[in-house]
Amino acid sequence: MGRAVATYVWAYSQKEQGVSTLSTARERLERRKTGTTWLAKLREPTLKGIARREALTGYLFVAPTLLGILVFSAGPVIASLGLSFFSWNVFSPAQLVGFANYQRLFGDTRVLISFANTLRLVLALVLLELLCALLLAMALEGTRPAWLRYFFRTAFFFPLLMSGAAAAIAWSYMLHKEFGVVNYYLGLLWIPKIPWLASARWALPAIVIVYIWRQAGFYMVLFMGGLSNMPQEVLDAARVDGATGWRRLWHIVLPLLSPTVFFAAIIGVIGALQLFDEPYIMTRGGPGDATRTAVMTMYEAAFKNLELGYGSAIALLLFVLILVVTLTQFWAGERFVFYQ
């Protein structure tokens, strides 16, 4: 039995030109099947038994993750969401306030602005990081000398190795209006000094730049992995057929890449909606509320103003938002993502 599996996998991982190895392996297996022994017949499980066994295996496999999550995540999540109906400062007992926190939330301009900022940021961040990553991945795919490709890949991945906080610190210095190096180099291009972190107009772009700088590399590598997974036969067949680069890209590469793009979009959005480190360190949400994100208002409510109930209400609102967006993405994924 092991041999059959080995044959199969070996056949598939061999690069055959044109002739599909699938059919050959399958034929071999068919031939083997006809000669089953009475022992094998005995071992052949019933349909119901198979389903039950599979379900059991399923639960078994999922158990470590599920158990851990229930204990360490689900419990605290439910606790903190439930907290949103209370008013608590940790030192005095919690007081039930029902929906008061939510009423206040919807009238609190600062919170609403922070959510609006967050949504705007997410749009910009995810679109940009995925686009940059895709372009980079495609550009790198075609880069010939392997060592050059290796160098580029390492270079673009590097920013991810710095912690978000460290990156934010370093960039705060570099983006200073008067003495930061960024403005110095822009000055060489005759661009006037931009008040990056001190003006509402430029603070958000500054954060976008820092975030993309850090994250694009990860998605690039993800896409590179996806691109290298392309079944070469299909691409070759298309080229022989005369499809130009653009058509190849649009009709073949992207659909084949869609599971990766899907994953990247989901993760990218969930991450961007919870943006905290960069704006917190670089601008503290300012100037005004220009860079205040949802998680920042939640954090400040809980730990600055000692209003944990209110903070939990904000967290719940954010959670609902993330859930809705993710569900929408999954729904879209049903329609657009192509699995082989």
């Binding site: 039995m1 092991g2 199969y8 392996a25 399958r26 297996l29 099947k33 052949e44 599979e54 059991l56 399923g58 639960y59 496999f61 999922v62 470590p64 599920l66 851990g68 999550i69 360490f72 605290p76 606790a79 903190s80 940790v90 980079l136 075609g142 050059l148 290796y150 580029f152 390492t154 673009f156 590097f158 991810l160 190795l161 460290a166 610190i169 960039w171 210095y173 003495f179 190096v181 110095y184 590399g217 992995g225 290298s228 997974n229 392309m230 057929d241 005369g242 499809a243 130009t244 599971p259 899907f262 989901i266 993760i267 905290f276 998680v295 939640m298 967290a315 959670f319 859930l323 993710t326």
Partner: protein, 289 residues
């Protein structure tokens, strides 16, 4: 599909355009990689300088006199090696743990059928949608009740299950065509064999990606170590480096940056060392050899 016919001359021209395009792209990539790497160079250069000179413009990327004192200061101010060890311990343990749990769960969600699968999947996904700061107090209360406060295990245990990793590996498992499983099943292979011999080898990329990301994430974590750990000698390096900022942020920026360089080095080393594996993983994880 009607293809474009090419004359011989047209073909030559196309070749030239292709090559020119290639060179142009490579030039752009080169420029971009310098831009992307620049902050590292700046951080390194500034950490080797007197803080008074940090802001000279034009920036002295190659410092005239190397001030190693900043690095010495880092070692003087914090128990550097101990904290490094802590970070390593936490990061590697979690990586191994997560690769295991995520592979199992990801496979189950991708290819096994069991009642309540969708619900369970969304329960797990949902935990990714709550920011860390919102649940930190209940989690800390739990940690304390388990007696893990101020221990590195407090960082490790809750991180062994992973919603992100499960989701990631599920995607990779989904991309493996179903024919494999059919063939193996026909032959009476047990579920475990199908999993470990057929599917698992094909998702090496996913595991590699997860490993690198998780290592990175655990290494650079700040908030949970802040809340869970109290004694300096139990701190992870990222947390420990904060001490360099000094009272009311009067610490020297060169020292802070030196700390950042020192903390980033091991991650870089691991990444470079694991590159080979990474490359293999990417190449191997797919359907072409």
């Amino acid at each position: 599909m009607a293809g474009k016919r090419r004359t011989a001359l047209g073909q030559v021209v196309a070749n030239w355009r292709y090559r020119f395009g290639r060179v142009a792209i490579t030039m752009v990539l080169l420029f971009l990689s310098i831009v992307v790497l620049f902050p590292f160079i700046w951080v390194l250069a500034t950490s080797l300088r007197e803080p008074a000179k940090s802001f000279s413009v034009p920036p002295e990327l190659i410092p005239k006199d190397f001030v190693w004192g900043n690095y010495r200061e880092v070692f003087r101010r914090i128990p550097f090696w101990k904290q490094m060890t802590n970070s390593f311990f936490v990061a590697t343990t979690v990586v191994v743990g997560q690769v295991i749990t995520a592979s199992l769960a990801g496979y189950a969600f991708a290819h096994l059928r069991f009642p309540g699968k969708t619900v369970l999947f969304w329960v797990i996904m949902a935990t990714m949608m709550i920011p860390l700061q919102a649940t930190i107090i209940p989690v800390f209360v739990l940690i304390t009740k388990l007696g893990l406060a101020d221990h590195l295990e407090a960082l490790i245990l809750p991180s062994l299950p992973t919603a992100f990793g499960t989701f990631l590996l599920r995607q990779y498992f989904l991309q493996v065509p179903g024919e494999f499983e059919e063939a193996a099943k026909i032959d009476g292979a047990s579920d475990w064999t199908i999993f470990s011999r057929v599917y698992l080898p094909l998702v090496r990329t996913g595991q590699a990606v997860l490993a690198v990301l998780v290592f990175n994430g655990m290494w650079n974590e700040f908030f949970r170590p802040l809340i869970f750990l109290t004694s300096k000698e139990r701190f992870t390096i990222t947390l420990g480096l904060n001490d360099l900022k000094g009272y009311m942020e009067t610490g020297s920026i060169s020292v802070v940056l030196a700390g950042i360089v020192l903390a980033t080095l091991p991650v870089v080393a691991i990444y470079l060392a694991g590159q080979r594996f990474f490359v293999e993983g990417i190449m191997m994880g797919g359907l072409k050899g």
